[in-house]
């Protein structure tokens, strides 16, 4: 412990926080030969030597070097590790484009009911009616929210939804005897969009952004032709603004014979206000771990259901959840595998059901009005914080990238701060950690220099937004006096700034 004694009443001088003093030790390093946690039931059958059951050349010689630790040690290890994470239940987490909204504990409770958690995916549908009904009702709810009638819950996350959507696009065109080769994406698109395009065998063509933050319609016109399979849009886009020309864009795209794809990561801005289907989109993916409150889990699990228009429906992945009515009008749910034009499976079994339970519970809790209100408040919070950051130092050093009312998020540029104060967006982000805030998304979208992408979400209190704005101001004030403070931040986190370059140069990615 690096504390020097001092007379009571005066604070001690410390060079490390208690957490910093506690060095990282892995569970493997805590292993002691002979220790164990698990006691297994005995087999209750003859203890035949394994070699008599399986030829020895197919057997393992040396056991895997898993840790040897007792249960109390495991619990302490992971409890202590957990405290080295910043989480949503600790403080403000305005990570742009990620919709870090509160994760209701009710959803965890219902997902854990044995009828859900212990349900085998291969259970006969007649014995999984509750699960299939829930999936069917979630599909219907998402269809209503997206304004597109047909939903597949299968994709495991947004990026898999994108890939599914692009494979649907391919199947749709092929069905028409066409084989376009290009997919248009705005330069503001999230990285998963172009990556998915390539994996779907298409060529990415970038479309420029106009001064209003929307798609540059002229550029679009110049690039759209019958070799274009689809245009992928996020609307509101990653600049947090709604594309005012969406109607014109949709008709341009449709006239060319292409489909319009909606990246639903930003759906939290418009629930109950406007629907992608009504804007002319043919395919939408929804991130249940964003707008629909599935916890982010430190990087998943999530789910990326897709909603599509009639003309795309025949190609949806299989199996699909379907409803039939018995003669006495009683609904029975089933899995339909008999879909000849389907693109097939994107993954195993029926998708991330546990996520469906949570999101359906969320939809039931809020209801239609509640979802609409959530979007309204998300937009209110974003515009309020944007306003607060337009004042004083923030206004001077961190101008908003496209100055108009934003939707649920907005993007600032740290360029003037870098120029005038000599601290980068990264430095600001790291210094925010010392103030107990998770930084916004940084350096994205790419077309904004030194970008800071801020999404406050509806579940944050106004005081929290004010505290965040004040912290930004304090940091800029500090930087005016001494930029080194931010450049060397953070100071109080479990570890300080980490050497990422070194990590990549000599990768150490497992315990040796």
């Amino acid at each position: 412990m690096s504390a020097e004694g001092t007379p009571a009443g005066t604070a001690p001088v410390m060079t490390e926080t208690p957490q910093q003093a506690e060095r990282a030790v892995t569970i493997f390093e805590k292993s002691v030969p002979g220790r164990r946690a698990a006691q297994l039931p005995d087999a209750g059958v003859e203890a035949t030597p394994i070699e008599e059951l399986i030829p020895s050349h197919l057997l393992r010689e040396a056991p895997a070097e898993l840790p040897e630790v007792s249960e109390p040690e495991i619990v302490r290890h992971y409890n202590r590790l957990s405290r080295r994470n910043f989480d949503l239940d600790t403080g403000f987490y305005p990570l742009g484009s990620c919709t870090m909204k509160y994760n209701p504990r009710l959803n965890e409770r219902v997902a854990a009911l044995p009828g859900n958690a212990a349900l085998h995916p291969a259970t006969d549908p007649r014995e999984a009616q509750g699960a299939l009904r829930l999936m069917f009702m979630l599909q219907s709810s998402l269809a209503e929210i997206c304004g597109l009638d047909h939903v597949s819950l299968q994709p495991s996350a947004g990026s898999q939804g994108e890939l599914a959507g692009l494979l649907l696009t391919r199947a749709y065109h092929a069905d028409q005897g066409r084989n376009p080769t290009k997919v248009l994406t705005p330069d503001t698109a999230h990285g998963t969009n172009p990556a998915s395009v390539t994996m779907a065998g298409y060529e990415v063509v970038k479309v420029a952004t106009d001064e209003d933050g929307g798609v540059d319609v002229e550029d679009l016109k110049s690039k759209i032709d019958d070799d274009v399979a689809c245009l992928m849009l996020t609307n509101p886009n990653t600049l947090g603004v709604f594309d005012r020309n969406i109607v014109e864009i949709a008709s341009l795209v449709h006239d060319s014979g292409a489909l319009l794809y909606y990246d639903g990561a930003n759906l939290n801005a418009i629930m109950g206000q406007a629907r992608p289907g009504d804007m002319g989109f043919d395919i939408v993916h929804v991130n249940l771990h964003k707008s629909f409150s599935q916890p982010h889990g430190g990087g998943g699990p999530g789910a990326g259901p897709i909603a599509v228009s009639d003309r795309v429906e025949p190609f949806l992945p299989k199996p699909q959840v379907v409803i039939e009515l018995t003669d006495d009008g009683f609904p029975v749910f089933d899995l339909d595998f008999d879909r000849p034009r389907s693109i097939g499976r994107m993954r195993g079994f029926q998708g991330n059901f546990g996520v469906f339970v949570r999101s359906y519970a969320y939809i039931l809790s809020l209801g239609g009005d509640g979802l609409a209100e959530a979007s309204r408040l998300a937009v209110l919070n974003a515009n309020y914080l944007k306003r607060r950051l337009a004042e004083g130092r923030a206004g001077k050093y961190l101008p908003v990238a496209y100055d108009r009312h934003c939707m649920h998020e907005f993007v600032l540029s740290g360029a003037p701060m870098k120029r005038d104060l000599g601290i980068k967006t990264l430095d600001l982000a790291k210094r925010l950690l010392d103030f107990g805030f998770h930084p916004p998304t940084v350096y994205f979208p790419l077309l904004v220099d030194e970008a800071l992408m801020i999404e406050p979400v509806e579940t944050e209190a106004r005081e929290e937004l004010d505290r965040f704005a004040d912290a930004i101001d304090r940091i800029l004030e500090e930087a005016e006096a001494d930029p080194e403070i931010a450049r060397n931040a953070p100071y109080t986190t479990p570890v300080r700034r980490l050497d990422e370059v070194g990590a990549t140069r000599r990768p150490v990615i497992r315990q040796r």
């Binding site: 040897e68 014995e127 499976r345 809790s365 937009v379 579940t459």
Partner: protein
Amino acid sequence: MAGYAPITPADQAEMLGAIGVDSIDELFEQIPPEVRLGRPLDLDDGLSETEVFDQLDWLARQNVSTAEVSSFLGAGMYDHYVPAIVDAITSRSEFLTPYTPYQPEVSQGGLQVMFEFQTAMSELTGLPVSNAGLYEGPSAAASAAYLAMGATGRTGLVASRGLHPHSRETLATHAVGFGATLTEVGLEGGLTDGTELEAAITDDTAAVFLQNPNFLGSVEDVAALGEAAKAKGALLIVAVDPMTLGILRPPGECGADIAFGEGQPLGNRLDFGGPSFGFFCADEKYIRKMPGRIAGETTDADGRRGFVLTLQTREQHIRREKATSNICTAQALNALAAMVHLSWLGKRGFVELGELLARRTAFARDRIGGLDGFELLHEAPVVREFAVRSTRVPVDRLLARTNEPVDAGTHAHEAGIQVYPLGRDYPEYEDSFLVAITEKRDPVEIEGLAEDLESTLAELEATAVEGAR
């Protein structure tokens, strides 16, 4: 005020004032009127917590879960006992609620877990490189194909029919986008047909997919089968059931270039099929071609040990259209569950569990294979799952269910026999089904299955005779 939001009408008024607008609607004016939804969503109004709980509890009771009946369903996901510490740890908000560790200084918990997980999976598979997890097993097969095609510049994919049908279907779906052609190789006596395999591999074969144990439960001789792939310079990609790796030779020691699999058996509940996770391990030379997140060790400004997301230049947020994969949000929490479960099992427990499975499965296989009206589909060695042929009645009649919806409380009685019929995936084995064993299925329950099969068969034959009269 709704949706867990802390914003009061008074807050709203002041905030609108600060923004300088009269109403929230004004902020939505940027949406062209013709695409505004001029009506409330056609969904029910919000409910109180107790009402939502009741509705979902009612739904959950319509399901016949493994908590209610003794289930021998497997086919890639298994009813293992998940120790209580797994829930205790994964439910901590510090693990449950953050996102991907973009800010490593405040994400050391999650990053170190990834590093530990990578180590554990590398140990299990015997391959030096592991990522921090993918969505689930079958889509990991697609990621493996994508890597192989990039690495070899070839377009052919060859897969044994022993590979999980969902993996083969997922490969087929993705192949369209990848521009790959998929060839299947049949099974002989429960095992991949070596000659057919060799014949199927060409100079354009990017990868050969095997599964061990294969979908019929058989332990394949991966090393032997793999030689044909090696000979033609194709990658050997092996799907494995992690719970068998306590006793089976790891793919890394059988010449596999890539090993992947469904992670559910490790600490993840069944959840009707997800969320779980996929694991993905490879040879050193593919380290910069891996899909997904990878955590690496480094030091901080003061020299402290720390962990970061590394080799990110592979990933979509940097490489965009040139990325090695499009994956972003993955299954971090599920990988944590696996790591806790593996720590709990430990070096010895993990082996003991493999042995327990093999022994109970041998017992069950003898017992059920010996029933009249039933025989083993194949004699190949197995670890935890085996295939049985019904010789006298069709499988669908054997497993017939009433069409009555399940009624809460009483479904235990209505439930049918919980085994996996092979017909849909393997028309050639339409008369067979799979039986899976875990440490939760003790000899008494196995005996119960044998009796259910016997008595059901007897009933069916009795009614048949009746019918004949």
